[in-house]
């Protein structure tokens, strides 16, 4: 009933806005700016006003700046990595060896790093996704309003905990605590490669398993927060339509909230995955370096791209050795790009609501 009135308001307040340098909105989608009581400027020139020009310049500049920055980072990585890649004595993509201590005989390949990085991240994602979905649905659909707000703050707070704290918690608390669980998994499901006995001491828990769980906790807030925002925007008219048809709470969620929020939830998860791939400090503290190669077990040790680079950072005294790590960084950079591209394409596939 009130919709037409509300819809008309921006148009009305847009008219006086035209006198104030902010010019009438070129797009209907622009937010209405309430007219300020200050004296109107002389309304003679109907073309571009200074305020408009400045704002446009700033906005365009910011956009160009970020693209240029990303391009520059990519360029930096490539330029720095190429000389070392040329000196590499093993295959960069398929070798599991990493030895850069002698700049005269560089032997480095990323396969092991890639596997550990991907396994840690996927494990984190598999744990975090369903929990985040549950929390987001609880906060938007089930929790009483009084509870939902503070609860959401607590989740957001989780995102503000520094990763070093998560790392310490994983190393000193979670790792040892997980020992009975991991021992049980190894004893009973050890025939399955993922649960095979790993290449590090199980008792300390400095494994991919622990790292994955800690990273899951770290990416939980971002997936939850974004999903919550999306679920909250489910159009009331669809929710009411479902209720009027005799849908129960869960059926309302299934017929309206989930289809509406699916794309947002997937991209939220991809954001989380992006964070998981690049997580450095926590993973670096938790994972113990292994002497043998990664064998597909969750109870292996090893290093991810980021933790490997961070560990070696104090020893970047020779540009040739450093270049090897920069090459690894380049792969991580590309990997996150690919993940984001996949997320985008998934979101683009769900346009029904736009």
């Amino acid at each position: 009933m009130n919709d037409p009135v509300v819809a008309r308001r921006p148009a009305r307040s847009g008219e006086p806005g035209a006198e104030r340098g902010v010019a009438a909105a070129p797009h209907a989608s622009e937010a209405p700016i309430p007219p300020t009581p200050e004296a109107p400027e002389t309304p003679k020139a109907p073309h571009v006003r200074p305020g408009d020009r400045i704002f446009r310049g700033l906005a365009t500049g910011s956009g160009v700046f970020i693209v240029a920055l990303i391009g520059a980072i990519g360029l930096f990585l490539i330029v720095q990595a190429i000389p070392s890649l040329g000196l590499d004595n093993v295959n960069f993509l398929t070798s599991r060896e990493w030895n850069t201590s002698n700049p005269e005989d560089l032997r480095f390949g990323i396969l092991d790093l890639l596997l550990v990085t991907v396994v840690v991240s996927i494990l984190a994602l598999l744990i975090a996704m369903p929990i985040a979905l549950g929390i987001a649905l609880f906060l938007t659909q089930y929790a009483p309003r009084k509870l939902a707000r503070p609860f959401a703050y607590v989740i957001d707070l989780l995102a503000a905990v520094p990763s070093i704290v998560f790392g310490l918690w994983g190393l000193f608390v979670l790792g040892p605590e997980l020992y009975p669980v991991s021992q049980w998994l190894v004893d009973n499901l050890g025939w399955f490669p993922l649960f095979a006995k790993g290449n590090v001491n199980l008792q300390l828990g400095a494994t991919v398993f622990t790292a994955g769980i800690v990273v899951a906790v770290m990416i939980l807030p971002i997936i939850t927060a974004v999903s919550r925002e999306v679920f909250e925007r489910t159009p009331t008219m669809h929710v009411e339509g479902a209720i009027a048809l005799g849908a129960t709470k869960w059926e309302v969620v299934r017929t309206t909230v989930l289809p509406f929020g699916k794309a947002g939830y997937v991209s939220a998860s991809m954001l989380g995955l992006g964070r998981a791939l690049g997580e450095t400090i926590a993973v670096m503290i938790i994972l113990s370096t292994a002497t043998s190669a990664f064998g597909w077990s969750l109870f292996d040790g090893g290093a991810t791209f980021a933790s490997k680079i961070a560990l070696a950072a104090p020893e970047f005294n020779d540009p040739r050795s450093a270049g090897a790590y920069i090459a690894a960084g380049l792969v991580l950079f590309v990997l996150t790009f690919v993940v984001n591209a996949i997320a985008r394409s998934i979101v683009a596939g769900h346009k029904e609501y736009e």
């Binding site: 009933m1 008219m237 339509g241 009027a244 048809l245 309206t256 289809p259």
Partner: protein
């Protein structure tokens, strides 16, 4: 199928706000009753209380009785979800589920009620779409999303969805307010046809529409801001529009017609 509706001493609240006061009226089966009145007078609220949608809003409360063939839908033993399954509702703006196909939209209510038989669902989809005068326009694209239809077609799709369960009562909340005149006409014609099988209550701001489609008209009014809305009078549509019993009704109607 087409039950008789009796509203007795209905009082509706949003938290502490008393939204509608002491409404009593009767709707015979296979009859169209129109609710008219100024914005904020509570006619939509009353409509939403007839399938227990009112209580979905936080803090909303209902007092009084709503009887369908003598059975109180607010009785303590009644499950609101079951009530909504037997009462159809059409909203102001067409709201087909965008991710569902046209066919799935129509049978959504039956699916919720647990009907799984594909043949039965297809039959109901066809019958309901024919009933909503939409079959000929969509029969070749039943598997396409409902969101691809025009506004008027979407609203008829929503009507098809509402009548798919063969409801005891069909509620329409300003079903034409978002539509162009041609689509409006199509819906009005449809209402006249649906009357043969269903009991219909329609809220409308358009008095010509009330005059055209309804048998009985209820006029709601608001005595002042912050006061509860009231049912001023209810009578045969012809009488309300030619010779209303109350001054307020006449003022409202003539104000719009004049």
């Amino acid at each position: 199928m087409a039950k008789r509706l009796d509203i007795k001493d209905l009082n509706l609240f949003y938290g502490k706000f008393h939204a509608v006061e002491n409404v009593s009226l009767a709707v015979p089966p296979k009859n169209v009753t129109a609710f008219i009145g100024p914005s904020g007078c509570g006619k939509s609220t009353v409509l939403r209380s007839l399938n227990r949608m009112h209580e979905v809003a936080p803090g909303a409360r209902v007092e009084g009785k709503v009887l369908l063939d003598g059975e109180d839908i607010y009785a303590s033993t009644v499950d609101p979800v079951e009530v909504r399954r037997t009462i159809g509702m059409v909203f102001q703006r067409p709201n087909p589920f965008p991710t569902m196909s046209i066919r799935d939209n129509v049978v959504a209510g039956l699916r919720l009620a647990g009907v799984k038989d594909k043949k039965k669902l297809d039959e109901v989809a066809e019958r309901s779409l024919r009933g909503a005068n939409l079959w000929n326009e969509v029969k070749d694209r039943l598997d396409k999303p409902g969101g691809g239809l025009s506004g008027g077609q979407q609203q008829r799709l929503c009507i098809a969805r509402a009548i798919a369960v063969q409801p005891d009562l069909l509620l329409m909340d300003e079903p034409c307010s978002a539509l162009d005149p041609i689509s409006t006409l199509a819906i009005e014609d449809l209402i006249t046809e649906l009357k043969k099988e269903y009991t219909i209550v329609i809220v409308t701001h358009n008095m010509q529409q009330a005059a055209r489609v309804s048998d009985q008209t209820a006029f709601f009014n608001l005595l002042g801001v912050g006061q509860p809305g009231q049912l001023i009078e209810v009578d045969d549509t012809e009488k309300i529009f030619s010779n209303p019993g109350q001054k307020a009704t006449e003022d409202y109607i003539s104000g719009r017609f004049g």
